[in-house]
Symmetry: none
Subunit: 196 residues, 4 copies
Amino acid sequence: MGKRKDNNKYYRIIQAATKIFARKGFYQAKVSDIAKEAGVADGTIYIYFENKDDILISLFEEQMQMVLDNMLSELAGISDPADKLTHFARTHLKLVEENKDVAEIIQVELRQSSKFMKEYKNEKFAKYLNIIADIIREGQDKGIFRKEVMPGVAKRAFFGALDEMSRFWVLSSRKEYDINTAAHQISSYFLQGIRA
Amino acid sequence: MGKRKDNNKYYRIIQAATKIFARKGFYQAKVSDIAKEAGVADGTIYIYFENKDDILISLFEEQMQMVLDNMLSELAGISDPADKLTHFARTHLKLVEENKDVAEIIQVELRQSSKFMKEYKNEKFAKYLNIIADIIREGQDKGIFRKEVMPGVAKRAFFGALDEMSRFWVLSSRKEYDINTAAHQISSYFLQGIRA
Amino acid sequence: MGKRKDNNKYYRIIQAATKIFARKGFYQAKVSDIAKEAGVADGTIYIYFENKDDILISLFEEQMQMVLDNMLSELAGISDPADKLTHFARTHLKLVEENKDVAEIIQVELRQSSKFMKEYKNEKFAKYLNIIADIIREGQDKGIFRKEVMPGVAKRAFFGALDEMSRFWVLSSRKEYDINTAAHQISSYFLQGIRA
Amino acid sequence: MGKRKDNNKYYRIIQAATKIFARKGFYQAKVSDIAKEAGVADGTIYIYFENKDDILISLFEEQMQMVLDNMLSELAGISDPADKLTHFARTHLKLVEENKDVAEIIQVELRQSSKFMKEYKNEKFAKYLNIIADIIREGQDKGIFRKEVMPGVAKRAFFGALDEMSRFWVLSSRKEYDINTAAHQISSYFLQGIRA
DNA sequence: TATGAATGAGAATTCATTCAT
DNA sequence: CATGAATGAATTCTCATTCAT
């Protein structure tokens, strides 16, 4: 792929960028901030990444892969589609809580203007959403969920509900509701909402 | 008064900024782009706004006020809380469709890191969310919605579901689902999900 | 002369400019600051003055004329050249004390770069210095002052001594020495220095 | 160290700024003029200096240190206070003649409004003046100068006399008097003026 | 590979001056 | 004469990126 990941500096820079982008936002973050945080020289960044945009893109790819892998392994042992959705919610929110920086970047920067949401085909994110769609289809096949539910709409509704809840956590300091409560509430509305 | 709105140039600049910010994003947009679009000199911007940030903040305030007023008047004649939620969904999505630029900015720029979501207390947006919470509480009082539903969580879940759907529209060109279908689906999951 | 002084606004603007230039310096002062201080509109300034430079030039001319007239009338009744010098010193320092703003501008702005000390022929200031040279020549003719004293050098030495003392007053808040002490000291060194 | 002086670019920029500020004055001088004169890129200036003000401040510090060191070494071998003052005058005026640019900046810009004479504590200049005060005190101790001479006034009178003479040189092209004549005249008035 | 000093294009903002009212 | 909103030229400073060491 032409990208040097062999050296651990690649990952150190990704980690540093995650922290800096989360704290300042993409446009406010300086490449030299990331270099300093990673403990490398400014120029070293350009050995591992094409440019500043590429740091963000790579960060997404790496972190989304981690999120994706984690979610798939969490759901692996569960067979009931309803349980899967409940567990998806809990896992997603727990992940947000445990990886504030990653969550904030995905929340905030990923949604940012043209440069990223428009020009960059975020396939990992699409896959993540499709985990939900697949569970719904599976549930419909098993007769658990209503046939008229449209998976393409429902996946967004379910993800959006979780996501808005996360934003609240990411952007506010106080925590009015704990994760389990929120995860339970949201999956219960949704499950009851689509149940046959 | 601190801000000169008496002159229509204030609104012309807001309109121009809405268009430019939606197209390029806040950081990519040049003040001179906005000036050109508004048909005024660069310096004129600074008669009506403190600086570039202030254009965005003012834009939010003005547009959110419009959105808020519109929603309240749409819901005015409806008494049944379930109908209100359904109509909220339809109105919200229609608004997004009819005001792509405004929607995109609220979607994308409003979520942008520290500068805006953290430092800027977005009270108009909080009010908008609270329209949903109020409807839910009203429904609980009337015994239509389950008592254990937490309005603070549910308002975010419902808004998040709509919002994720909107993002899909705003950021993609093709439209797989029409508004009414999406609005109907989402409000039906949700209503069934919280119904007593 | 093409300059409208008939209206008292001309003088109000000069007064305002004196205050503003003294406080902020020529380049830091905004024409609109002066307009506000004078209680006129920005555009009005340009009815009475060519441009910002012209305000400063006019201010010098007017204020130096005042200083010149004042000094000449103060010295009018004195016949002894030594007394004249002593009185020049006292009058000069008293004037500085009583017209801090004017003094500060002459001290500071008049000396400023090319624009003013180089391109602007400051004839009033030359006349002021020549009052001293004339007194010295008069004293030499009367045999009071040494013949080898060069009036062109001595006038600058005497004025410079007074001027440096003034700067100290203008720029510092505390006053270590009072006017009469300083005037007396300086004129006594100088008189004894040039006496035959 | 906070400021990188290790590289000779620091001094090249100081030299360039000295030339440009002398020619155009601080406010008229563009940072890019200085960069061009120094043969570096605009941005390079900001590696060595905080901002434009800092260039001027640093220039003062460096050049005044040079002036100070030069004066102290010139006076080192002289024991008689009267001779010291005479030599001070000659050295000062020679320095002015040989460093027109430096002299002009110290003459003109240093005196400039609030930004520099008020907010910037010019300690090097104070030290320079105190060389004179110290000589006068020494002379008083040795019984050569009159006891009633106030060193705090006299140092300003002497320096002011020299300074006004320098201004004349710096700002005019023609030279009516040569250095030695002027230095001799001024120190002779002054010495005779304060002698016991 | 790694460095970090140097580069220079780019953008926000200011403010003297104008001119329609 | 007087106004003050509008203009737009001008300038400082930033920072992603390069490249000689």
